[in-house]
Amino acid sequence: MDVQELIAVLTQGIRAFTWANGVMIAAGSLLIYLAIVRGYEPLLLLPIGAGCIFANLGMSAYVDGAWLATIYAFGIETELFPLLIFIGVGAMIDFRPLLAQPRLVLMGAAGQVGIYITLLLAVLLGFEMKEAAAIGVIGAIDGPTAIFVATQLAPHLLGPIAVAAYSYMSLIPIIQPPLMRLLTTPTERRVRMEYAPRPVSRAAVLIFPVVTTVFVSLLAPAAAPLIASLMLGNLLREALVVERLSLAAQHEIANMSTLFLGLAIGATMTADRFLYSPVTGFQWQTLMVLALGLFAFVMDTVAGLLFGKFMYFVSGRKINPLIGACGISAFPMAGRLAAQVAQEEDYSNFLLMHAMGANTAGQLGSVVAGGLLLALVTGIGIA
């Protein structure tokens, strides 16, 4: 053991460190800052930020045998984490507002149009079809769906896609209201919607998740795990007799999956894949994914609002176009936001029930759209 060897050993960490690692650590710290100080989806952005820092200190998801690689292999490669989170999400959703006003389900279709517009744009910008689809799915505006689809189509883009999905999701209150005001007139925003829902029986609430699982799984087998886990969670919730399992899904399972999912995704954000590789140079695609993600959010909102306006006319001005913006998913923020904007115009206008119905429709639509996209892109055998 001579001095040189010793110095080599002790400076190993520092020598492996590049300026790009430094920038990525700053980026990770920024995510943590946004999570803690600004409150941007802290449950996910804090772990992602921490994972990003760790990844640039030699503990990335690509170092065989490293702890974050183990966690990545365990829960992301197998796609378990997003599905387990979905069980918890399902156990927190109440589908009654949607069942009581089933026509609102169409809003959940319009809110997915941004996926495809973004896909188109990404292809135009030169992305491969699978990459473009993975980027487009940010427009599902639903974290687990985006991660589930991206893991299969373009795992190398998982980091920026997840960051985009979750950070823009937390920006919904900033992104949506200006668009709402721009695309709707005060008269439209003042529309009051009748609330005379049909009574929803317990049987309906129990049959709904089962039949929906069967129906969606048959139509879009690629979406089957997503819809199955979401509806399983909902069934645990509505069964009432398995509260232990329902609570476990919402707490233990959801908390652990969330923490480890965030860490593992952050652990993919190494400098050479995210920012600058000595071999392939700057990784412009990261910035492009982030920009396209924002574009997807805007397009979804626009499409939702335009469809809302269409419904407004078709229904004889009985549907408030604002609830079109809830179809993007982003459950439950988008729902509450639309109700708020409506109240800005008219304090006595209560849209919340309709907004929540459209919002859960958006959740359904996101899963279906993600599955159809997977089927179309992988099924047809596009390289």
Binding site: L120, V211, H251
Partner: protein, 123 residues
């Protein structure tokens, strides 16, 4: 750099994807409407209900009641949503209050209760 084959495919996927998502959700609409209708609880109007139905006739009153109902539901939903976010607060979820919170709330209630002491809380 632009691959026209890819763009053609992307356009195709877009059209098919958008159409399909609408088709699927349209079918869901039908299914949901049917489901709720078929499983609806049999309407067995009790006397009270009938009485209420007949006594309230003018539109204004109906509107008021409807609004009140909507407010109640909205508030309840908002609370639910909050709860769902801060999930530890759900039903008998773990750790809803700290020991001293419980104590101090009990305390606060006691003090407040001072005014109505003769009518102890119903439950």
């Amino acid at each position: 750099m632009i691959n026209f084959d890819n763009i053609e495919q992307a356009l195709l996927i877009t059209v098919i994807g958008v159409v399909l998502i609408f088709v699927v959700l349209l079918v869901m609409w039908g299914f949901m409407a049917l489901l709720v209708r078929l499983t609806a609880p049999r309407p067995e109007p009790t006397e009270a209900q009938t009485a209420a139905a007949t006594s309230v006739t003018d539109d204004a009153a109906v509107a008021t009641r409807r609004k009140a109902a909507v407010v109640a539901v909205a508030v309840a939903l908002a609370i639910e949503a909050e709860r769902a976010r801060a999930a530890p607060l759900l039903q008998s979820a773990p750790g809803p209050i700290s020991p001293w919170q419980a104590t101090l709330r009990g305390n606060a209630l006691s003090r407040r209760a001072g005014a109505f002491r003769r009518n102890p809380p119903a439950r």
